[in-house]
Subunit: 308 residues, 2 copies
């Protein structure tokens, strides 16, 4: 799957993943009104509105980007119906040929971590047959519990040829509270990065250039990105924090390898709610998907000019 | 909700939470056969079997224990239908008067963490009205992302009078890989514990003895439990790792305060799959719920004698 991701990035010249993190306040009124009329005002109507909104964006950007990253929290807030909408979103994106990174930040131990890995990246055995749960292509994983939490994901990745992105240095202001603390003179995030390199060392793609085991490093910390790029040269870096969180195109170069690969940059709000920005206001709410498309094109140019 | 938990622990003389982590291999064959016959062999049949199995256990133990802790991973592996089964389990346990700790180990930042907090502990706003997602009483939370990930949960806990248990020192063998590393001479888990104490300092129960913000510390590390008990005196400690993972009753004393309170011990497999142990084999698979009840009684005695 890492090869499919790399191929998509090359073909579309876009190391970009669109974050499908739909807050209800982003969804245009006309969609909400229609869905409330058809499905009632409530959880079902809201979820149908979210799904329609997502589909519009996916249709508008699927020829431009290789991947999407639905954030499951935004669906989980609606309970079981929301989680079903997450699954429908995953399925729709896969139908459109996109690589789907489930931003689930799961992490537990032993059989529990295995259950998460099965649910998100593989299929569950029921009486000798196998059934699909969510079946994303990649998942994000939290490392706090150590190798016991990661190994079940590695086993599933090996079997399914899928991948994970492990949280190393997150994009938020307080990420340093624990992640930056020095242990034997080296920040915790770098200790985690060294383990990412180790965990991924025997899970390499066809030409051995990149691993199934990637890392999350925030665009808001470019100097750390530069250091971490060297610590885990074969890890694909998923870079959140571009756009709405303050990361700029000019911050991104350190996250890439000399081959021009090795990183994929996420933008969520900046794309999916572009029509709410002054810059794209002329699209109007009925043009929300076209606004998203234009925001992707602008992001593509921003990154291309930064990478030179 | 922390007061309801404490009251239940006192009344039932049982600082015990039953982990509802149903693996399909624990579910008696007769239940699986019946549900496959009625709902088909597949996800739906499996989920109905899990729900029936859970209900049997809950019915058998609800007068003995104050709380249950469904582990969402075990449901999530079945996809959306599994997550619906998690919700049905939560609802059933609440109907029976039990405090429900959602073992979800979520953790993200800003509006994303807020979405998790809303989904699991509060209700989501849709056009001015509020709708329930999963609505557990407590949730477990991962601290790796720092305060940005925790604060949205604190806000929701304050509003709803609910609580969280933050992962401090987990029960698994490799938990020390990151958690035990020394930062300024103090292990990472203790730095997290200090923050737990701080985060919970203005979220106290009616008599000011305990906080809405608790911690997870594994029974497998009693000496660390003793140190952590002092670092966060007002945090309730959720103690996993008893039983199947190797923690013994005699290990538990350090987790409690002098008032005999301050900790609640989880057992999952050791209770819900008791009928598969030699010790409880005489109950047979049709007696799985009675076996679970007996295992709770034995655990209660083990803890009582350890606490003196």
């Amino acid at each position: 799957m890492i090869d499919k991701l790399i191929e998509g990035i090359k073909k579309k010249n876009a190391p970009i993943v669109v974050g499908l993190d739909p807050m209800l306040k982003y969804v245009p009124e006309y969609i909400i009104t229609e869905k409330f009329n058809n499905f009632g005002k409530g959880i079902k109507g809201a979820c149908e509105a979210v799904l329609e909104y997502n589909k519009g964006i996916v249709d508008a950007v699927c020829d431009l980007v290789p991947a999407v990253k639905p954030q499951i929290a935004m669906y989980e807030q609606f309970g079981p119906e929301g989680v079903l909408t997450f699954k429908k979103t995953v399925d729709y994106c896969k139908e459109k040929g996109l690589v789907v990174i489930g931003d689930v930040k799961r992490g537990d131990i032993g059989s529990t971590s295995e259950a998460y890995a099965i649910g998100h990246l593989s299929s569950v055995e029921i009486g000798g047959d196998y059934y699909e749960g969510f079946n994303e292509d990649f998942a994000t994983v939290n490392p706090y519990l150590g190798s016991d939490g990661i190994r079940p994901f590695l086993d599933v990745c090996r079997k399914e040829r899928k991948g994970i992105f492990i949280l190393v240095k997150t994009s938020n202001p307080s990420s340093g509270e624990f992640q930056d603390r020095l242990i034997d003179g080296i920040p915790l995030y770098e200790h985690v990065a060294r383990k990412v390199d180790e965990w991924g060392s025997d899970l390499l793609n066809a030409d051995g250039s990149y691993s199934y085991v990637g890392a999350v490093v925030g665009a808001t910390y470019p100097e750390m990105g530069a250091a971490l790029r060297k610590v885990m040269p074969k890890a694909y870096i998923l870079v959140p924090g571009y756009g709405a969180q303050g990361g700029k195109g000019s911050d991104l170069k350190p996250f890439f390898n000399a081959d021009g690969l090795g990183a994929i940059v996420n933008s969520s709000r900046g794309i999916i709610a572009a029509y709410k920005q002054d810059k794209y206001a002329s699209f109007g709410e009925r043009g929300y998907a076209d606004a998203a498309r234009q925001a992707v094109i602008d992001m593509q140019q921003d990154i291309a000019s930064a990478l030179g």
